[in-house]
Symmetry: C2
């Protein structure tokens, strides 16, 4: 077996791998991030690398131009290491700097109103002073402790104590000279003594709310006495290297790598974020008593190292929607060794705990108003209902709005085009770039803009096809049909122009069509129409940046008055935060997960019909979009 | 730091240790057993070794004769390694071959009558065939399983499932084509799904009953369907090298080594025994569902790695008498990873779960007859009572009957003198040796015999002092006063005569005196006398070999009719076995542990008075021993 040294610039990292390993694998082992939307299947064309020198073998593919190949550009997933290599990762394939993550502290915060309700976390710290043992009162240490707890009104019969606390009990009682702080944890069975510390440390009580997103992981550090959010940290989910959407992740976990490997990646991300938070705030990991996580069903399976295979296979069966409460130490998170993890329960394979958390945070389940709740993340989940009923569906929207399946698609990070205007006469674009820097690609809100603008400027027609009779060099033939040039760049510097291809347009149309069709199907299942919808809640970090008017122009959102739309940002973490602080909220969440009726769209004939009708701009039924019709009429 | 190589004959093992390590430590690291009753304190003089060659430094001590020192004999605990060494361990310091262990299958078995009661272990295996999931019935795997269990009458609400079972659930259901065997475990909170296996494996159900004795560990392999004891294995508790009695173990764990080290030793012994049993019987460790352990409070603390320090310090407080039910995997025993360990609860620091198990097995707690229960093991525990009340005490008898504190004392293994007769005229002894082999030392039953015989033959007087006017060379001056020569051996071969010294006699007298005084104190606390005692139960492996008549002669046992004495052998394991098979028995055991009233003898003035009176042969109050008086009268 030959070992090869692979060195990566600009990160200046290197790794030894066996001959025959892919370059993507080598990068992963070296801790070098390369974007790979498809998880290494060779289909997205994003994992570009430039081989400076060395031995390798690379499969031919449609993503690279001849000039790129001649400059040593390869796709990392299709490149096999055959000797020592020096590799450069171009900026467009690197992890974006400062990815824009919605930490839910904005709009979501308003919905919290946590001050109005009692803070009631699952753990409590109590300071006790015990009588010293004597020969006439020499009951065991544990009996002495529970006797005192009973005196203070806690029901003695149900108090349990695990091995690790017992192991420190004797020395701690004596170290504290019989004055100790006991951490009690309410479980489904009773009360567990989860820690004993010498002295009075009742003020050291922290918890974590964690949003385990397919793309990003967000962690709140919360003080359990006050409910205050002390600090927030977030990062990309390290599983990104196994694919951008949940299907790629499942394929990677079950066919390419292992469930354990993908599990360890997200645990690594969480661990780093938690360590950052504790270090930054000078908090002992032992004083983190409680964790609530929220994520879609696939993310939750991978977090708990459950085989996600059957989520993907018909009839789409998860192992469980209600996860058992486990010790954080069972999955290797460095907090108090007896701290529990509670995962927000979900409803089905494609409507998970993040949606339960979103409904909880937006109070749809208690509202009289008929509400649509939509989370446009990597997947697209939809909920319709009110206090009496809730139906939910997932519309397999695809990851286009997160950058997947679009040639220059990227997440909303530094260098992403997030807004576009196109001059109605010259067809020249004006781009707004996150960070006001050199553009690298286009993110979801930019896609909505560019689609709407191209349509309104006549660059594309109702079917999303390029007009062939425009007098502009912005539309030109590309490798696969016509394309629109958003940004011209210098080929001499190895840069490719940022374009939107016909295939990209198709993908975006399919994504928006699936979401709109999903909404129509849910409504008609309940014999309702958009006119009946009183509130339209858009969750997810991406939602915050959508231009509603343009989203209506492309037919992503229904043509409702602006005031009915509400952005609530990352409601997954908001829900987790609420549950962390309130038993009542936890019970509500479980009730929501049980009450929600899941409708499987993938086998629905009605959905397919709606989907076909929704692949137009804004829609086949232009009558349903009177405001768009008005704009179009004015233009003529 | 210099590393030294220490090679041991005859075991042919060697180890590298740092310069300055004791020879006892080196032997322990090399896995070579050296008897060290005192745990390495330099007081017992048993850890003899012969240095063939090499560099060492050895402390002078009173245990070795000049001729021994000149032959290279050292005490391992007082010898420091200073360079490479070749060491020989003489047979008397080696672990006895085939230690006689009472596995409780004898008399105890009669008390079982398990056939009369329902076998009701804490686990159950059920074969289920689930309906395959379809698009119209695609609930989660776990919901499908619990739905079926509910159909079969198990209460769905309380069924829980831990992480490791969830992790295998999806693949196992499909591997078994939806026909699976589910192992349910009844916990204090409800029912836990502890395993899921493909197909029908309902007949593979085993459990372990484990007696964790201070000296020996005994393991039963039990079939949980039938209650049959499939196999038994036993070995010395590897903690022996840290001292023979519980006080030496506590000192070692808290002052010499660590709690973890001593914990790991007994876990190692259990692990080896369990591995032996599974291998010998072709059983998968995964089919071991349930474990019940029984041991004294110190052994239980060390088994669970609880700090035993406070057991030894006044006011003698254990961490707990009721251990939590934990997973066997938490303390590293290789059985089903979700198998629970239930430790039989105890009453106080010196009356532990082994005594609860003994009372359970002997049914004292349900008997109308006033009963004394006595366990003469390494410690001496006493219980007095009946169905209405139970009082218990420990009399710190010391380990004399197990070989500790007696120059040639040893456990009842090959080469131990277990019976002695002394000619009334010549004072010549006749020895019965276990295994009919060369005698190496004297075990507990031998000590009782020799004391009784020396007394009746006039070698010693009522106070245990040697007669100075006998015409025999069997009594001779030794290093520390007079001694009686039991076996003459060849000094040319480096052998020492087997003798009983005045100090040995003192130790045996103190041991027997403490036990008898404890009994008297318990009785007088309850305003009773021996005449009220209808049953006298002697538990413990050692008990089986006692000659009752001679034990009465020395005043170890009260002068009651022979038929009132009952030997029940190792009732600790019998009780554990009963609890393994019956929930009712477990509840009875908990009731016993709660009901037993512990009386602290160490601070009792009455006990001290009784003890002083009991340091005679048979006792100061000869009137209490009419049968002995009769023998003495006849002799005159």
């Amino acid at each position: 077996m030959k070992l090869c040294n692979v060195a990566f610039a600009p990160e200046n990292k290197s790794i030894q791998v066996r001959e025959g390993a892919t370059l993507l694998k080598a990068a992963s082992l070296a801790g070098v991030h390369i974007n790979a939307s498809c998880g290494g299947a060779g289909t997205c064309g994003k994992c570009r690398a430039v081989i400076a020198n060395g031995q390798f073998r690379s499969e031919p593919n449609i993503h690279l131009s001849d000039s790129e190949v001649s400059r040593g550009v390869v796709l990392s997933c299709l490149t096999v290491v055959e000797g020592d290599l020096s590799v450069e990762i171009p900026q467009e394939a690197q992890k974006g700097a400062g990815v824009r993550v919605d930490t839910g502290l904005g709009v979501g915060r308003e919905l919290l109103k946590i001050g109005d309700r009692e803070i009631q976390p699952r753990t409590k710290k109590i300071h006790l002073t015990l009588p010293r043992p004597t020969l006439s009162d020499n009951i065991s240490d544990l009996s002495r402790l529970t006797r005192e707890l009973r005196k203070q009104g806690y029901p003695g019969r149900d108090i349990t104590c695990g091995l690790s606390v017992l192991q420190k009990l004797g020395p701690t009682l004596r170290e504290g000279e019989w004055a100790v702080t006991v951490t009690l944890m309410w479980t489904q069975f009773g009360i567990e003594i989860m820690d004993v510390e010498a002295g009075d440390v009742t003020l050291s009580r922290y918890g974590l709310a964690i949003d385990v997103g397919t793309t990003t992981v967000v962690v709140y550090l919360v003080h359990l006495n006050t409910g205050d959010i002390i600090d927030v940290a977030s990062d990309l989910n390290a599983q990104i290297r196994c694919g951008e959407d949940i299907i790629s992740r499942i394929i990677y976990a079950t066919e390419v790598g292992t469930v354990e490997e993908v599990h360890e990646l997200v645990i690594g991300t969480i661990r780093t974020l938690v360590d950052t938070l504790t270090a930054r705030n000078g908090i002992q990991p032992e004083s983190l008593d409680s964790i609530v996580t929220s994520g879609n069903t696939t993310m939750t399976h991978l977090l708990y190292e459950l085989d996600p295979r059957y989520i993907r296979e018909e009839p789409y069966v998860p192992t469980t929607n209600f996860l058992p409460v486990i010790k954080a130490s069972e999955i290797g998170i460095n907090v108090n060794r007896n701290a529990n993890i509670y995962a927000v329960p979900g409803t089905a394979s494609y409507v998970g705990g993040d949606i339960t958390a979103g409904i909880l945070a937006s109070r749809v389940h208690l509202s009289e108003a008929l509400t649509i709740f939509i989370d446009i993340g990597t997947n697209g989940e939809l909920v319709l209902g009110n206090q009496d009923w809730l139906v939910a569906a997932s519309c397999s929207a695809g990851p286009a709005f997160e950058g997947g399946g679009v040639e220059f698609g990227m997440r909303a990070s530094q260098g992403a085009i997030e807004g576009v205007e196109i001059d109605r006469q010259t067809h020249e674009p004006t781009c707004h770039v996150i960070g006001d820097t050199e553009p690298q690609g286009i993110c979801g809100s930019g896609m909505i803009d560019v689609l709407a603008e191209m349509y309104l400027a006549g660059v594309i027609d109702q079917k999303g096809r390029f007009s062939e009779d425009l007098e502009t060099d912005r539309v030109r033939p590309g490798d696969a049909g016509l394309e629109y040039v958003l940004v011209r760049r210098d080929p001499a510097r190895g840069e490719r122009d940022i374009v939107l291809t016909a295939a990209d347009l198709d993908n975006i149309l399919r994504t928006k069509g699936a979401i709109y069709a999903g909404l129509c199907t849910l409504l008609s299942e309940m014999n309702l129409t958009f006119h009946d919808v009183e509130r339209f809640i858009i969750a997810g970090g991406f939602g915050n940046y959508i231009d509603i008017e343009k989203a209506i122009v492309i037919g992503l959102l229904p043509d409702l008055p602006q005031e009915r739309f509400h952005f609530i940002g990352n409601s997954s973490i908001t829900g987790a935060y609420l549950i962390l602080l309130s038993k009542e909220m936890r019970l509500e969440a479980e009730e929501i997960a049980r009450r929600m009726t899941y409708i499987e769209l993938s086998v629905s004939r009605a959905f397919m019909d709606e989907y076909m009708s929704a692949l137009f701009l804004p829609h086949t039924r232009l009558d349903d979009f009177p405001s768009v019709r008005e704009i179009l009429d004015k233009r003529r």
